[in-house]
């Protein structure tokens, strides 16, 4: 081994200052950390959104909470209060047994107690039925009378703290229905506030009769007055079979009669009398069409039915477009139950219902046909009650034990089908993609399809790009390849200033200034656009054929000076021709006055069958295009200018014209950059919010009609977030919309990047 030479001290002029080294090292790591932090931040946002939408796709969780023994009795039905703390069980004799299920064994436990309407000792109860949603009991007596008894649960807050539910009964007097003295077998009652009707099936000499009464309640100074009968209807003529169920919805405008053979007759009540609308057999296609159970879903527009073989369907009432009449139709089908339902309970906050027979219990959701939860219980269920707060399920088994289950299902409506599938919502004649997150009533069925929003996003982007792409690309081509550099120095910064216009200003202009002008003069706008395009082509053709002597008056690169006045003239001519063309082609009868008027706004819907709105995709495309043009222009112009001059010179030296050089050589070589420009413009248009919020009308339509508005995903988030309860279904759905938007842009960007790399590889210049 050679001896290591002694270390010479490094001359001072070669020494690196420690500060330089330290700073260099620090910046190296600092930049690295910064880069990683950005990546981490993006992933955290992604993760956060994922965390927000994850609960939407979870099923319901049902866990046993408590069991309480109920005194034995011959119970007919059960009901419960809002907190599911004080359920009652209706005995065969009409008394109500309330059972306290909280604080069992504690000092304030009330055990069980009995309440009954005052008339219970005078009459014999033949029929009783509980309406869970409106919390009233219908009593029918053996002597042909009825009473409506409200079960009023009230929370009290005793001094010792906590909450205690107390109950009181409010009853109407016994009134006669139909034939006096004849046993009431079934009752149905509907109360819309202004109209109340009650129907009863009575047994008369061994055959059934159907009677209905309309009730009136006069308000007095001292509060609601007595309930009186103000109309009587004998509907026995409509009974052509053995009636099994009768139902009246809370709107009190219909009566449904189900017969033993499986038919359902729908009578319409118009305030003066009943008329037959429809007879249908819900299970006509099944071997055994008999109906085992039928109950309303929340809102009383849908009926949940089961057949004896366990088939489970929903029929809803909707306006049939061909008959122009509201009729019942089959809208939902659920998986079969083991047998016809023996217990049922309706959800009071949403379209869920609890249904089952014997040991099988199933929690289903009406809108989505989804089974939220289903299980084989270790006992035979006699009755079930779904807690009004949708947080508890109570089962009474045949051994008089009450089983309470905790239900956790915060987003029962959520699911793939809700967001991306066609659903026939209540009141709709066909399955559709709809978005309508809020409605005026508690029983409103939310429509949460993201499809109209996705279509709206695509529509807005499409129209913006249709307008922006040709202008931006051609402008960039012209500026980079034909315009003189001294003018170019002025044009490009101007375009960049245009990019810095706040979109809220553009949206404001679009909504309040442009939209009214455009909607008043659609033919003029279209003609002006056509005029300018035609003028450009015409001018180019004519200029090319002009003798060189005239062409030489303008230096190459200044041709636009000759074109500008012609373009303005063409635009003006197109604009002023608009009314003329409107008078010639777009004459239509005004539905208000009956006169023949030239009006494109009226003509368009009559001829195409599509609607015309003032704030439409046409205007949005125009203004959003305006927002997108500078971005596409700037990046495209840079890409075109960066094409090596050697290519241009090579092409020109071979005798190609400037246009041929631009199209054949410059454009393909810059294609990767142009592609990026288009994609960045596309990304801007997809995510653009303010302009669409202000200028579209935010109607979640699913068409590509240029004269209707749209609602984009981004606008939807902006519009609805203030109304969405924290962590509610709508709140999380908006996050899902954000995720879809994120994925859309992510997919577009990824595809674009792959294609861009490919193009760059193909057209890269040799160095």
């Amino acid at each position: 081994m050679p001896p290591t030479p002694p270390k010479k001290p490094i001359p001072e002029r070669f020494v690196v200052a420690p500060a330089t080294l330290w700073f260099d090292r620090f910046m190296n790591h600092f930049i690295k950390v910064g880069g990683l932090a950005i990546i981490v931040a993006v992933f955290l946002i992604f993760f956060f959104i994922l965390l927000q939408i994850f609960p939407l796709f979870r099923g319901a969780r049902v866990e046993p909470a408590a069991t309480v023994s109920i005194p034995p009795g011959d119970y007919r039905t059960m009901g419960t209060d809002e907190w599911s703390e004080l359920p009652f069980f209706l005995e065969q004799d009409g008394t109500l047994r309330f059972v306290d299920t909280v604080d069992i064994g504690g000092p304030h436990h009330r055990g069980s107690f009995v309440k009954a309407p005052s008339f219970i000792d005078e009459v014999e109860i033949a029929y009783a039925r509980y309406n869970e949603y409106q919390a009233f009991l219908l009593y029918g007596t053996t002597d042909g009378r009825f009473s409506i008894v409200n079960v009023d649960y009230q929370p009290t807050f005793p001094a010792r703290g906590g909450r205690q539910v107390v109950v009181s009964l409010r009853e109407t007097p016994l009134l006669n229905v139909g034939r006096q003295g004849m046993t009431v077998e079934r009752l149905a009652y509907g109360d819309s506030g202004t109209r109340k009707i009650l129907a009863a099936i009575q047994r008369v000499n061994g055959r059934s009769e159907l009677h209905a009464v309309s009730l009136a309640q006069r308000r007095t100074l001292l509060g609601p007055g007595e309930l009186t009968v103000d109309g009587r209807y004998d509907l026995t003529e409509f009974l052509d079979g053995e009636p099994r169920h009768i139902m009246i919805p809370s709107d009190a405008d219909a009566l449904l009669i189900a017969f033993a053979d499986g038919r359902v007759r729908f009578l319409h009540f118009d305030g003066r009398g009943f008329s037959e609308r429809q007879v249908f057999t819900p299970f006509a296609d099944r071997p055994d069409p008999r109906i085992a159970s039928m109950n309303f879903l929340l809102g009383d527009v849908s009926v949940v039915m089961t057949a004896h073989d366990g088939a489970n369907r929903i029929y809803s009432i909707f306006r049939d477009p061909t008959l122009d009449m509201r009729i019942w139709g089959h809208t939902k089908t659920f998986p079969d139950l083991p047998a016809g339902a023996t217990f049922y309970s309706v959800g009071m906050r949403n379209k869920a219902f609890l249904i089952g027979s014997d040991r099988r219990a199933s929690l289903r959701y009406g809108t989505t046909e989804a089974i939220r939860w289903e299980d084989e219980l270790p006992f035979d269920v006699q009755f079930a009650a779904l807690g009004p707060r949708y947080n508890r399920i109570l089962f009474l088994d045949t051994d008089h034990t009450l089983h309470a289950y905790d239900l956790r299902d915060p987003h029962p409506q959520a699911g793939w089908k809700t967001y991306f599938g066609r659903i026939q919502y209540e009141g709709q004649a066909t399955a559709e993609f709809s978005w309508q997150s809020t409605g005026g009533r508690d029983d409103f069925e939310r429509k949460l399809s993201l499809v109209p929003l996705i279509i709206g996003t695509l529509k807005g982007t499409f129209y913006a790009m249709v307008f922006a792409l040709p202008i931006a690309l051609l402008a960039a081509l012209y500026t980079s390849q034909f315009l003189r550099p001294d003018i170019k120095r002025f044009v490009k910064p101007t375009m960049e200033i245009m990019a810095s216009l706040p979109s809220v200003v553009l949206g404001f202009l679009a909504a309040l200034w442009l939209a009214p002008i455009v909607s008043n003069a659609v033919p003029s706008v279209i003609l002006a656009v056509i005029g300018v395009t035609a003028a450009a082509y015409g001018f180019g053709y004519a200029w090319g054929n002009l003798p060189q002597r005239i062409r030489l008056c303008l230096k190459p690169g200044y041709e636009f000076l000759a074109f500008a006045p012609i373009m303005c003239l063409a635009a003006y001519a197109g604009w002023s021709l608009g009314p003329v063309v409107e008078r010639a082609f777009f004459v239509v009868t005004d539905p208000n006055t009956g006169l023949q008027v030239p009006d494109f706004r009226l003509w368009y819907p009559t001829v195409t069958g599509l609607s015309f709105e003032q704030r439409n995709a046409f205007v949005v495309g125009f203004v959003m295009g305006f927002a997108v043009i500078p971005i596409i222009f700037t990046i495209t112009e840079d890409a075109l200018s960066n094409v090596p001059d050697a290519f241009r010179s090579g092409s020109l030296a071979l005798g190609a014209s400037r246009w041929q050089t631009a199209i054949n050589i410059v454009l393909p070589t810059a294609s990767a950059g142009i592609f990026s420009a288009i994609m960045i413009g596309l990304g801007r248009a997809v995510g653009e919010t303010m302009i669409v919020v202000m200028a579209t009308g935010n109607t979640p339509v699913t068409d590509f009609n240029p004269f209707t508005g749209m609602r984009t995903l981004s606008a939807n988030i902006a519009v609805e977030l203030p109304e969405a309860p924290y962590l509610g279904t709508l709140y999380r759905t908006l996050f899902l919309g954000a995720m879809v938007l994120f994925l859309m842009t992510f997919m577009v960007n990824t595809a674009a990047e792959i294609l861009r790399q490919h193009l760059r590889e193909k057209y890269k210049a040799v160095e």
């Binding site: 190459p556 020109l652 071979l654 005798g655 070589t669």
Partner: protein, 287 residues
């Protein structure tokens, strides 16, 4: 109409007429093999300015037909500018002006009735840095035909073969004509550019330091090629390489500071130049 055409005889120089006249030129060549036009390109009192800067000063010279003329001189002497003015490639630059004239077969290249495009079709050009288009070898060659609207397959195929053969590249690339031009080596690319420049069969070939970026072997091939091409083309070559000028050219012009110092047969320039500046330059004492 007829009278108008008669009154404006300069129309005769339009693209159509140039094309019509070409067979005539070819026939003349065939008849008298050694007969050539010594004034194929004439430069008359030609001055050229980039904005306020004059770069060429009153040049007077003529380039003979079907001969190779070399332009030599130190960097910035204006030889490339002169070359690029012959096919008016400098038109793209802002703020240029000129005095005097350049005539091709007696016709001014600045004639307002002459289309620049037809002028450039007449004059092929090879650049210092090879600049094949980002297209296939085949498409590079036929580009000048395609932009002229000639798309007949048989004509294109024939042109590709004759041009590549003329550029001595056919045997190397005939099996990969559809491959990207960028797959070729540097020397091959430059020969492809020469093939591309002669595809439309121009009369004149301008070469702007065609070998400056090539290795000696590739340079040798190009020089051989120039030697073969001068049978058909008037060639003007700009070069920094004295030996190259001596090897390939028939006549040599020495430019210095935008002035034509000496213009004579190559042999004379290199053996017994009449100007001391020329002698100093060719013997490597300055430049």
């Amino acid at each position: 109409m007829m009278t108008m055409e008669n009154e404006t005889p300069t129309h005769a120089a339009s693209l159509k007429d140039v094309q019509q006249r070409r067979p005539e030129v070819a026939r003349q060549n065939a008849v008298a093999k050694d007969a050539f036009n010594p004034n194929h390109i004439e430069v008359k009192d030609y001055s050229f300015f980039y904005g306020p800067n004059q770069v060429l000063f009153d040049l007077n010279m003529a380039f003979p037909e079907r001969h190779v003329t070399a332009l030599i001189g130190p960097s910035g002497c204006g030889k490339s500018t002169l070359l690029r003015n012959i096919n008016r490639m400098n038109d793209l630059i802002d703020g240029i002006s000129h005095k005097g004239d350049v005539l091709i077969e007696g016709q001014s290249i600045y004639d307002p009735f002459l289309e620049v495009i037809s002028l450039r079709k007449r004059i092929g050009m090879v650049f210092q840095k090879s600049n094949p288009f980002p297209k296939s070898i085949y498409e590079n060659i036929v580009y000048s035909l395609r932009v002229a609207g000639r798309n007949r397959k048989s004509e294109l195929d024939e042109t590709v073969e004759t041009s590549l053969k003329a550029a001595a590249l056919w045997d190397e690339v005939k099996d990969r004509l559809q491959e990207s031009a960028f797959s070729l080596s540097g020397g091959q690319m430059q020969r492809l550019c020469i093939a591309r420049a002669i595809a439309n069969r121009p009369e004149i070939l301008l070469m702007d330091e065609p070998c400056s970026a090539l290795d000696p072997i590739a340079t040798g091939k190009i020089e051989d090629l120039i030697h073969d091409l001068k049978k058909d083309y008037t060639i003007i070559i700009v070069t920094h390489n004295m030996q190259q000028a001596a090897r390939v050219s028939d006549k040599t012009a020495f430019l210095y500071m935008g002035q034509l110092i000496e213009y004579d047969d190559t042999e004379k320039i290199f053996m017994k130049p009449s100007e001391p500046q020329t002698e100093a330059y060719v013997s490597g004492r300055f430049g």
